[in-house]
């Protein structure tokens, strides 16, 4: 399909299909194309009102809706969980407006929308992961002004972000960022990978899958195309590290190689469970 | 070595209406290489003005100041580009007056050693040794070597000043009453130091308050007549 044809809704498709009107889809898709062309660069777009409050995933929903076709199999997860209220509602919404099939199996899905996690199972070239983003600006922590952060991105002026990390190491002996760990994409733009744990950051690097990031409230879309370098900011003598779950395992499926959620029992006991519930369920079957 | 031709200097003080205040007019004289020439004339005749024009502290209003630089060849100090004047001041032309231009918070020994390090490229150790030797000869007590000359007596300051001026052996040394308030003993040392400088090939042009001294140490004198 030609890009222009795709932009205008696809061949012979009913124009109002899939909740979003054609104009909105066109706008989002145009932003997506630009985002893919400039990996890690935040593309502004006209974020639409959704039947959901902003900040509840409206950026991700708009991307998903503008990509959706009836043949898609959709999975929606919220912090790894297929069963959270929000995930279930969004999934039902897609079933209703798009008539698409949904699943909890990462391998079966063609389109996965997620909040704050990347599935444990390796995704392939035929799949797209849509990430919901609350704060798209990786530099916001160090620079409050949007005009300045845009200039800093334009000039690849990232010394202050690095300085922020330097100060962490100096004062605390380590970089304290647990999530939203800043990454350099394609050797150029510093990007906020959304609030995924550090555990998930390496999955973005040279992946087979297309990653799309949507921030509805902030009106920004950005992307990491397949086979793109995504490098967490790190020092030569202070390397990026993922969370250490050494000696711990999932109490449900026994996995020792997944990101674990720690659950504190009423009696103070600590139990660990896979954060990716779909994967955990699959392992138990 | 130095050929001053038709040098005039006129000041324009804008606060006083800007009218011309002539200081010297149409001065011409030559100084040969290795010569020690004295400038003579009544007070206010403009001897200092001539010297400062040669040093470029004053801008000449008219005339030429041709100087045969060992490194640059003949140049006109009246119009030479500033950067090259700085180069000449660093490598060839020295100026010493009766007033010590102290650098705040630099001790006497380092004040004398500094131009030796800078201009001759000597290491600090050697420069300080040579500076100490000069100060010894000029009877500056050793306990004052590390003290700041700003606190010295007038005579001590002058002696430090002379040590600073001759230490680096300039090719042309301009002297503006450097012995004005020195005692007889110190003057003798200064005469000795200047003689040594000349023996090394330096050319000197100077003003001395004392006509006897002037007669004694210079080869000849040039009379600056002032303005008619």
């Amino acid at each position: 399909m030609l890009a222009g044809e795709w932009l205008s809704g696809g061949a012979g498709r009913k124009t109002t299909w899939g909740f979003l009107d054609d104009g909105a889809k066109k706008d989002v898709r145009r932003a997506l194309l630009k985002a893919v062309a400039i990996p890690g660069y935040q593309v502004p777009y006209g974020s639409r009102e959704m039947p959901l409050a902003r900040g509840w995933g409206t950026g991700g929903i708009q991307i998903t809706l503008s990509l959706l076709s009836p043949e898609d199999v959709v999975k929606v997860i919220d912090q790894g969980c297929d069963g959270s209220v929000n995930a279930v509602n969004i999934k039902k919404f897609y079933e209703r407006v798009g008539g698409v099939e949904t699943t909890t199996d990462t391998r079966e899905a063609t389109l996965i929308q997620t909040r704050h996690r990347i599935p444990e199972e390796r995704m392939d070239a035929g799949q797209i992961l849509v990430l919901q983003v609350p704060y798209p600006e990786a530099l916001r922590e160090v620079e409050p002004s949007e005009a300045n952060t845009r200039r800093m991105h334009a000039e690849a002026d990232y010394a202050r972000m690095w300085l922020h990390l330097y100060e962490d190491v100096v004062h605390y002996g380590e970089i304290r960022l647990a999530y939203r760990y800043p990454c350099t994409v394609n050797g150029r733009h510093v990007m906020d990978p959304s609030p995924i744990p550090r555990w998930d950051v390496p999955k973005l690097h040279m992946a087979d899958t297309l990653f799309l990031f949507g921030a509805g409230r902030e009106h920004r879309i950005y992307a990491v195309p397949p086979h793109t370098r995504v490098e967490p900011l790190e020092f030569e003598d202070h390397k990026f590290r993922v969370e250490d779950f050494h000696g711990k395992s999932c109490s449900r499926c026994g996995a020792t190689d997944t990101f674990l959620d720690e659950i504190l029992g009423p009696d103070g006991t600590r139990t660990f469970y896979c954060s990716d519930t779909g994967y955990c369920d699959k392992r138990r079957r | 070595m130095l050929s001053v031709r038709n040098l005039s200097k006129t000041f324009h003080l804008h606060m006083l209406g800007g009218g011309p205040l002539p200081a010297v007019g149409d001065v011409s004289f030559d100084v040969g290489r290795g010569e020690f020439v004295g400038l003579a004339g009544p007070s206010g005749a403009g001897k200092s003005t001539v010297l400062k024009c040669v040093h470029r502290t004053y801008l000449a209003s008219a005339g030429q100041i041709l100087y045969d630089s060992p490194s640059m060849g003949q140049v006109d100090l009246a119009s030479l580009e500033e950067g090259r004047v700085i180069d000449l001041r660093r490598t060839e032309i020295g100026f010493v007056s009766q007033f010590l231009r102290v650098i705040p918070r630099v001790g006497a020994l380092d004040l004398v050693a500094e131009p030796i390090v800078h201009r001759l490229g000597t290491d600090l150790e050697t420069a300080r040794a040579r500076a100490a030797e000069l100060l010894d000869r000029l009877h500056i007590p050793r306990r004052l070597f590390e003290a700041y000359p700003a606190t010295f007596s007038g005579g001590e300051q002058q002696r430090v000043n002379i040590a600073r001026a001759v230490g680096w052996r300039p090719a042309l040394l301009l002297l503006d009453e450097p012995t004005a308030s020195l005692d007889a003993g110190s003057v003798e040392v200064v005469v000795e130091l200047l003689q040594e400088l000349r023996n090394g090939g330096a050319t000197l042009l100077g003003i001395f308050h004392d006509p006897v001294l002037l007669e004694r140490i210079t080869d000849r004198t040039v009379r600056i007549g002032g303005l008619a």
Binding site: R151, A154, E155, A156, D157, A159, R160, W162, L163, Y166, E167, V169, V170, H171, F235, E236, D237, H238 | F11, H12, L13, H14, M15, G18, K52, R56, T57, Y58, L59, E82, G83, V85, I86, D87, I103, P104, R105
Partner: protein, 291 residues
């Protein structure tokens, strides 16, 4: 000594300008604001050259355009027109397409894109401002402040950066045990010294000093000046020294430029400017300040 930097026709104006600006502003007109169109000519047609290991002073009252000039040279502000060229400094070798094949002078760096301007700046200049908060991040540690320029220049080893920062802070007499404290806890003199350490972090050949001792106590001023003097010797720095204080200029600079209402009214050897000032304004300046 060979020239390092040359500037020609540097101009910064605020406003559109009009046909009568030229005659209505500047030193002779006694204002930098055009009475006809309201345009302010903060800096008009300034040219200068800075040579290796030379200190050039820029004097003038507030509003004369001297600080604006330094900000333009440091790319803190954008010039309306003019040329700024740099010689083939070894540290500039990394900046692509700066010098044409065989050329002694760079392209006009005032019209480079900001990314390359930053690289040129990091490789060639350090700056110390009058107000420490302009040059320092007050909430970031002193060591971090020094490291920032290194990070900007691509340093990525914390150990190396801390070693370099310790060396510079030690040299500027900041107690090393305070290296990880933010400058906002420091005295004014200490803040100035952290600024100097930061300015020197990238080992630049050119140091820009903008009224660095103004507002400091006399004894503190003396200490900062002594430090600058000895650093200049040690690191063979070229300096552009902006000050309204002729004493500071006399102490540091061989050459001096006098600015008024955005224009250079006179320039020359510092002792000549002080003892034989030509322009009425310089005469006034010397008469009122040099006692």
């Amino acid at each position: 000594m060979e020239p390092l930097l040359r500037a020609h026709g540097i101009t910064r104006r605020y406003g559109r300008g009009c046909d009568r600006c030229l005659e209505s502003t500047g030193a002779e007109a006694g204002t930098n604001r055009c009475p006809h169109c309201g345009t302010v000519w903060a800096c008009r047609d300034v040219s200068l050259e800075l040579r290796a290991e030379e200190a050039l002073g820029i004097v003038g009252e507030s509003g004369s355009g001297k600080s604006t000039l330094v900000k333009l040279l440091h790319f803190d502000d954008e010039a309306s027109s003019g040329f700024l060229e740099l010689s083939r400094l070894p540290s500039l070798r990394e900046v692509p397409e700066l010098h044409a094949e065989g050329a002694d002078w760079s392209r006009n760096v005032l019209v480079l894109d900001r990314y390359r301007q930053r690289r040129v700046r990091d490789a060639s200049m350090g700056i110390v401002y009058q107000h420490p908060h302009l040059g320092l991040r007050m909430g970031v540690s002193a060591g971090g402040n020094v490291a920032e320029r290194l990070l900007s220049a691509g340093w990525r080893s914390i150990g190396n950066m801390r070693a370099r920062a310790s060396k510079l802070l030690e040299r500027t007499e900041i107690p090393l045990e305070r290296m990880d404290e933010p400058p906002r806890k420091f005295s004014g003199g200490m803040q100035q010294r952290v600024q100097i350490a930061k300015a020197l972090s990238g080992d630049p050949p050119i140091l820009l000093l903008d009224e660095v001792t103004t507002g400091l106590d006399l004894s503190v001023q003396a200490r900062v000046l002594d430090m600058i003097r000895s650093l200049r010797e040690e690191l063979r720095l070229s300096m552009l020294v902006v000050s309204h204080d002729l004493g500071v200029i006399n102490l540091l600079c061989q050459r001096t430029m006098v600015m008024k209402n955005g224009q250079v009214v006179e320039s020359g050897l510092t002792d000549q400017i002080l003892q034989d000032p030509q322009h009425g304004y310089t005469q006034l300046l010397v008469a009122s300040q040099l006692q």
